[in-house]
């Protein structure tokens, strides 16, 4: 058993879990082209969820602040992107690939910029007065979520909004019997890019060093004379911006968004953060990929179970590792 453990940990430890899942699903599904489609869909979904979850996880790890209003950034990002895309409709559907991409980039940038600005406001007005008081934090951010959802309803109305996709990302790559949607590849690549960027910043720069040190022991870093609270605003803004970016990507992925989006994503993001362990980017990525894969595999294998699958996954992980798979902070 011990040798088995050591072999597993040398091969990557808990990072093997998604691979094991993929192999198991391959056996159960038995059809390679279906399996590839589902796996790509799962990875793309996982990457978008990762965008939304990473900020929440870091904010919690650094400042012990859990933001129940996090999903408001996701839904605002989605709706802003949808509005920008609708306004640039002629660019989007036109034949020029460059204009297509520019329109999409503008939508994503608008959502991200809004996320950063809203994050600054949120941190300053909503979260700052209630540091170190979990109960009031949960209550206040919950109140902010209510207000944000109502604002969303007031501005965009309750009806579903359809989201235009750029023409160049429509359709799929076809290899033999395997078809892969281009948008999913794009979502996966964008998520990967963000992960690599976050990884480099956290592990390669001085600010990243301070953030990681702050996650591990805030008082110690403060005692050394660094202003963690200033750093924290930056992390909070970055996290909110990433959430809004994830929302924008999600809007294009779904094609049709409703104001209920935020609430649905909030639960998924929480599950991801719990599975991954609070405070770590690697954990969030791992959790997000697992949730994405499980959601797609189970939806194919046992459609009835699909909606509860994430919950069951979370319970299984918590029974095995009460603090998540890769926590940066202990409970």
């Amino acid at each position: 058993m011990d040798t088995l453990n050591s072999i597993a940990s040398r091969l990557g430890g808990v990072y093997l879990l998604p691979v094991a899942m993929g192999v198991l699903a391959f056996v159960l599904i038995g059809n390679p082209s279906t399996w590839v489609t589902l796996t790509v869909a799962g990875l793309a979904m996982g990457m978008m969820i990762f965008l939304m979850a990473s900020g929440l996880s870091l904010v919690f790890g650094l400042m012990d602040v859990l933001n129940f209003g996090h999903s408001a950034f996701v839904s605002f990002g989605a709706f802003i992107a949808a509005s920008v895309l609708a306004a640039l409709g002629s660019w989007l559907t036109g034949p020029s690939a460059a204009l297509n991409i520019i329109a999409l980039m503008m939508a994503i940038c608008a959502a991200t910029a809004f996320g950063a600005a809203a994050g600054w406001f949120f941190e300053r007005v909503i979260v700052r007065p209630v540091y170190r008081d979990h109960l009031r934090q949960i209550l206040i951010t919950m109140g902010a979520l209510i207000v944000a959802e109502q604002l969303l309803l007031a501005i965009w109305g309750g009806a579903p909004v359809s989201v235009a996709r750029p023409a160049v990302l429509e359709g799929s790559f076809v290899f033999g019997t395997i078809a892969i949607e281009i948008y999913r590849v794009f979502a996966f690549l964008l998520g990967l890019l963000v992960y690599v960027a976050l990884y480099l910043v956290l592990n390669g720069t001085r600010i990243g060093l301070l953030i990681r040190a702050g996650v591990e022991n805030r008082e110690m870093v403060e005692a050394l004379g660094f202003r963690i609270d200033r750093l924290f605003i930056g992390v909070f803004m970055a996290g909110s911006a990433l959430a809004a970016m994830g929302g924008a990507m999600w809007a294009g992925y779904q094609g049709l968004i409703t104001p209920a989006l935020g609430g649905e994503m909030l639960i998924i993001v929480f599950i991801v953060v719990i599975i991954g362990g609070l405070g770590s980017i690697e954990g969030s990525l791992l959790g997000a990929i697992m949730v994405g894969l499980v959601a797609n595999y189970v939806a194919f294998l046992m459609p009835k179970l699909a909606l509860a699958s994430n919950m069951l996954l979370m319970m299984a992980v918590l029974l095995w590792r009460p603090y998540g798979l890769k926590p940066a902070v202990k409970g």
């Binding site: 859990l66 209550l139 109140g143 209510i146 604002l151 007031a154 639960i267 909606l307 029974l319 603090y323």
Partner: protein
């Protein structure tokens, strides 16, 4: 000198607290009387509906306050337990027909399910931080909501289900008949099954509320407050914190399930909208915080204020929306459907400035924590 001023401020604080207590108990007494005589004071159907809803929600909100205010547990699964009770009674009434045995059996099944789930969730996750617990209960509640709408063979899905309740509660049942065989009228209100139904709701809720008041006053209640104030210290003195937390979580779950049964019997309808939805959870949260966390009496005040606001704030906002109809966006914000927006703002302000809520502030617990 300074000690004199200190004692003077203390004394004035004492009188203010006493005055506040008078106000709170006066208001609660009035509300209690109004609910007691509601069928005679407000005979219209709509007011009856509001009164019954207030009764049930007082129990629901007070039981939530046992968790949030007294023990410092943040749970988002409270509507789940409420819904289990309601669905238990509803499914039994639907399949076994109208009878008290159906209510008893279905209700017992619902309460048992709530208890088992509460024990599971409690033991699994009450060891971890408050924040983990909040997230886990949120996820559990969302799964329950999905299950209720997916298992439509049992639960009626999104549409919910209507059913009949025991004949004793139907308007055709006359409690007291006069010489002509008609129901006796008191203050112009016929003493029929509808009155019986209202008093069934009222008395059940009163009994549950008194049980909770007893729990809070018992040694258990004191231990819970100790856990809330300083978990480590409570553990060090020798109280098993996890056991106490799980116990109060189970008690609150059972009471919520019982309230759900009462609600199902009163409404003759059960569906996700009235028994399980996240909107109800938000209502409960707002009611507890507005009324005052850590005071059962606050639950009464919070429920009444929120319920009246739901009915009258909308009218007020309609007026405001009409008055500002020329200005962009503002009428949208003042649209009566957006009343939750303004309550949300009020909620945030209350948590900032009066964390003890209305009752807590008046009772002199303000600023605590």
């Amino acid at each position: 000198m300074s000690s004199q001023t200190a004692s003077a401020t203390q004394a004035s604080g004492m009188t203010r607290a006493r005055a506040g207590r008078m106000i709170v108990y006066g208001i609660v007494g009035l509300i209690g009387l109004a609910l007691l005589f509601a069928p005679f004071l407000f005979p219209e159907v709509r007011s009856q509906e509001v009164a019954a809803r207030i009764c049930v929600f007082i129990v629901l909100v007070a039981s939530y306050d046992l968790l949030l205010g007294y023990t410092g547990i943040v749970s988002f699964a409270h509507t789940m337990f409420f819904g289990l009770g309601a669905y238990g009674a509803a499914i039994a009434l639907k399949t076994m027909g109208r009878g008290f045995d159906a209510i008893l059996l279905g209700g017992a099944a619902g309460v048992a399910a709530a208890l088992v789930l509460a024990i599971l969730i409690g033991l699994l996750s009450l060891r971890v931080k408050a924040i983990f617990f909040a997230m886990i209960t949120l996820a559990a509640a969302s799964v329950m909501l999905v299950l209720a709408s997916q298992l439509s063979d049992f639960t009626g899905g999104e549409d919910g289900m209507t059913y009949q309740i025991p004949r004793f509660f139907s308007p055709a049942n006359k409690l007291l008949t006069d010489a002509d065989g008609k129901a006796v009228r008191v203050f112009g209100v016929a003493l029929d099954g509808k009155i019986a139904l209202y008093y069934f709701v009222f008395l059940s809720c009163l009994a549950l509320f008194l049980v909770m008041a007893r729990i809070v006053a018992s040694p258990l209640g004191t231990v819970l407050e100790a856990v809330r104030e300083n978990e480590l210290r409570a553990e060090a003195i020798g109280y098993r914190v996890v056991v106490y937390r799980t116990a109060i979580f189970c008690i609150a779950a059972v009471i919520a399930a019982l309230a759900g049964i009462v609600r199902a019997v009163w409404l003759k309808y059960t569906g996700p909208e009235v028994a399980l939805s996240f909107a109800i959870m938000i209502d409960i949260l707002l009611m507890v915080v507005i009324g005052g966390m850590g005071t059962l009496i606050g639950a009464i005040i919070g429920v009444v204020i929120m319920s009246l606001a739901q009915f009258y704030l909308k009218d007020l906002m309609q007026v405001a929306a009409d008055a500002t109809s020329g200005i962009p966006l503002l009428p949208e914000l003042l649209n009566p459907d957006r009343w939750l927006l303004w309550l949300g703002v009020l909620f945030i302000l209350l948590v900032y400035f009066f964390p003890a809520g209305i009752a807590g502030t008046l009772l002199g617990k303000g600023g605590a924590k």
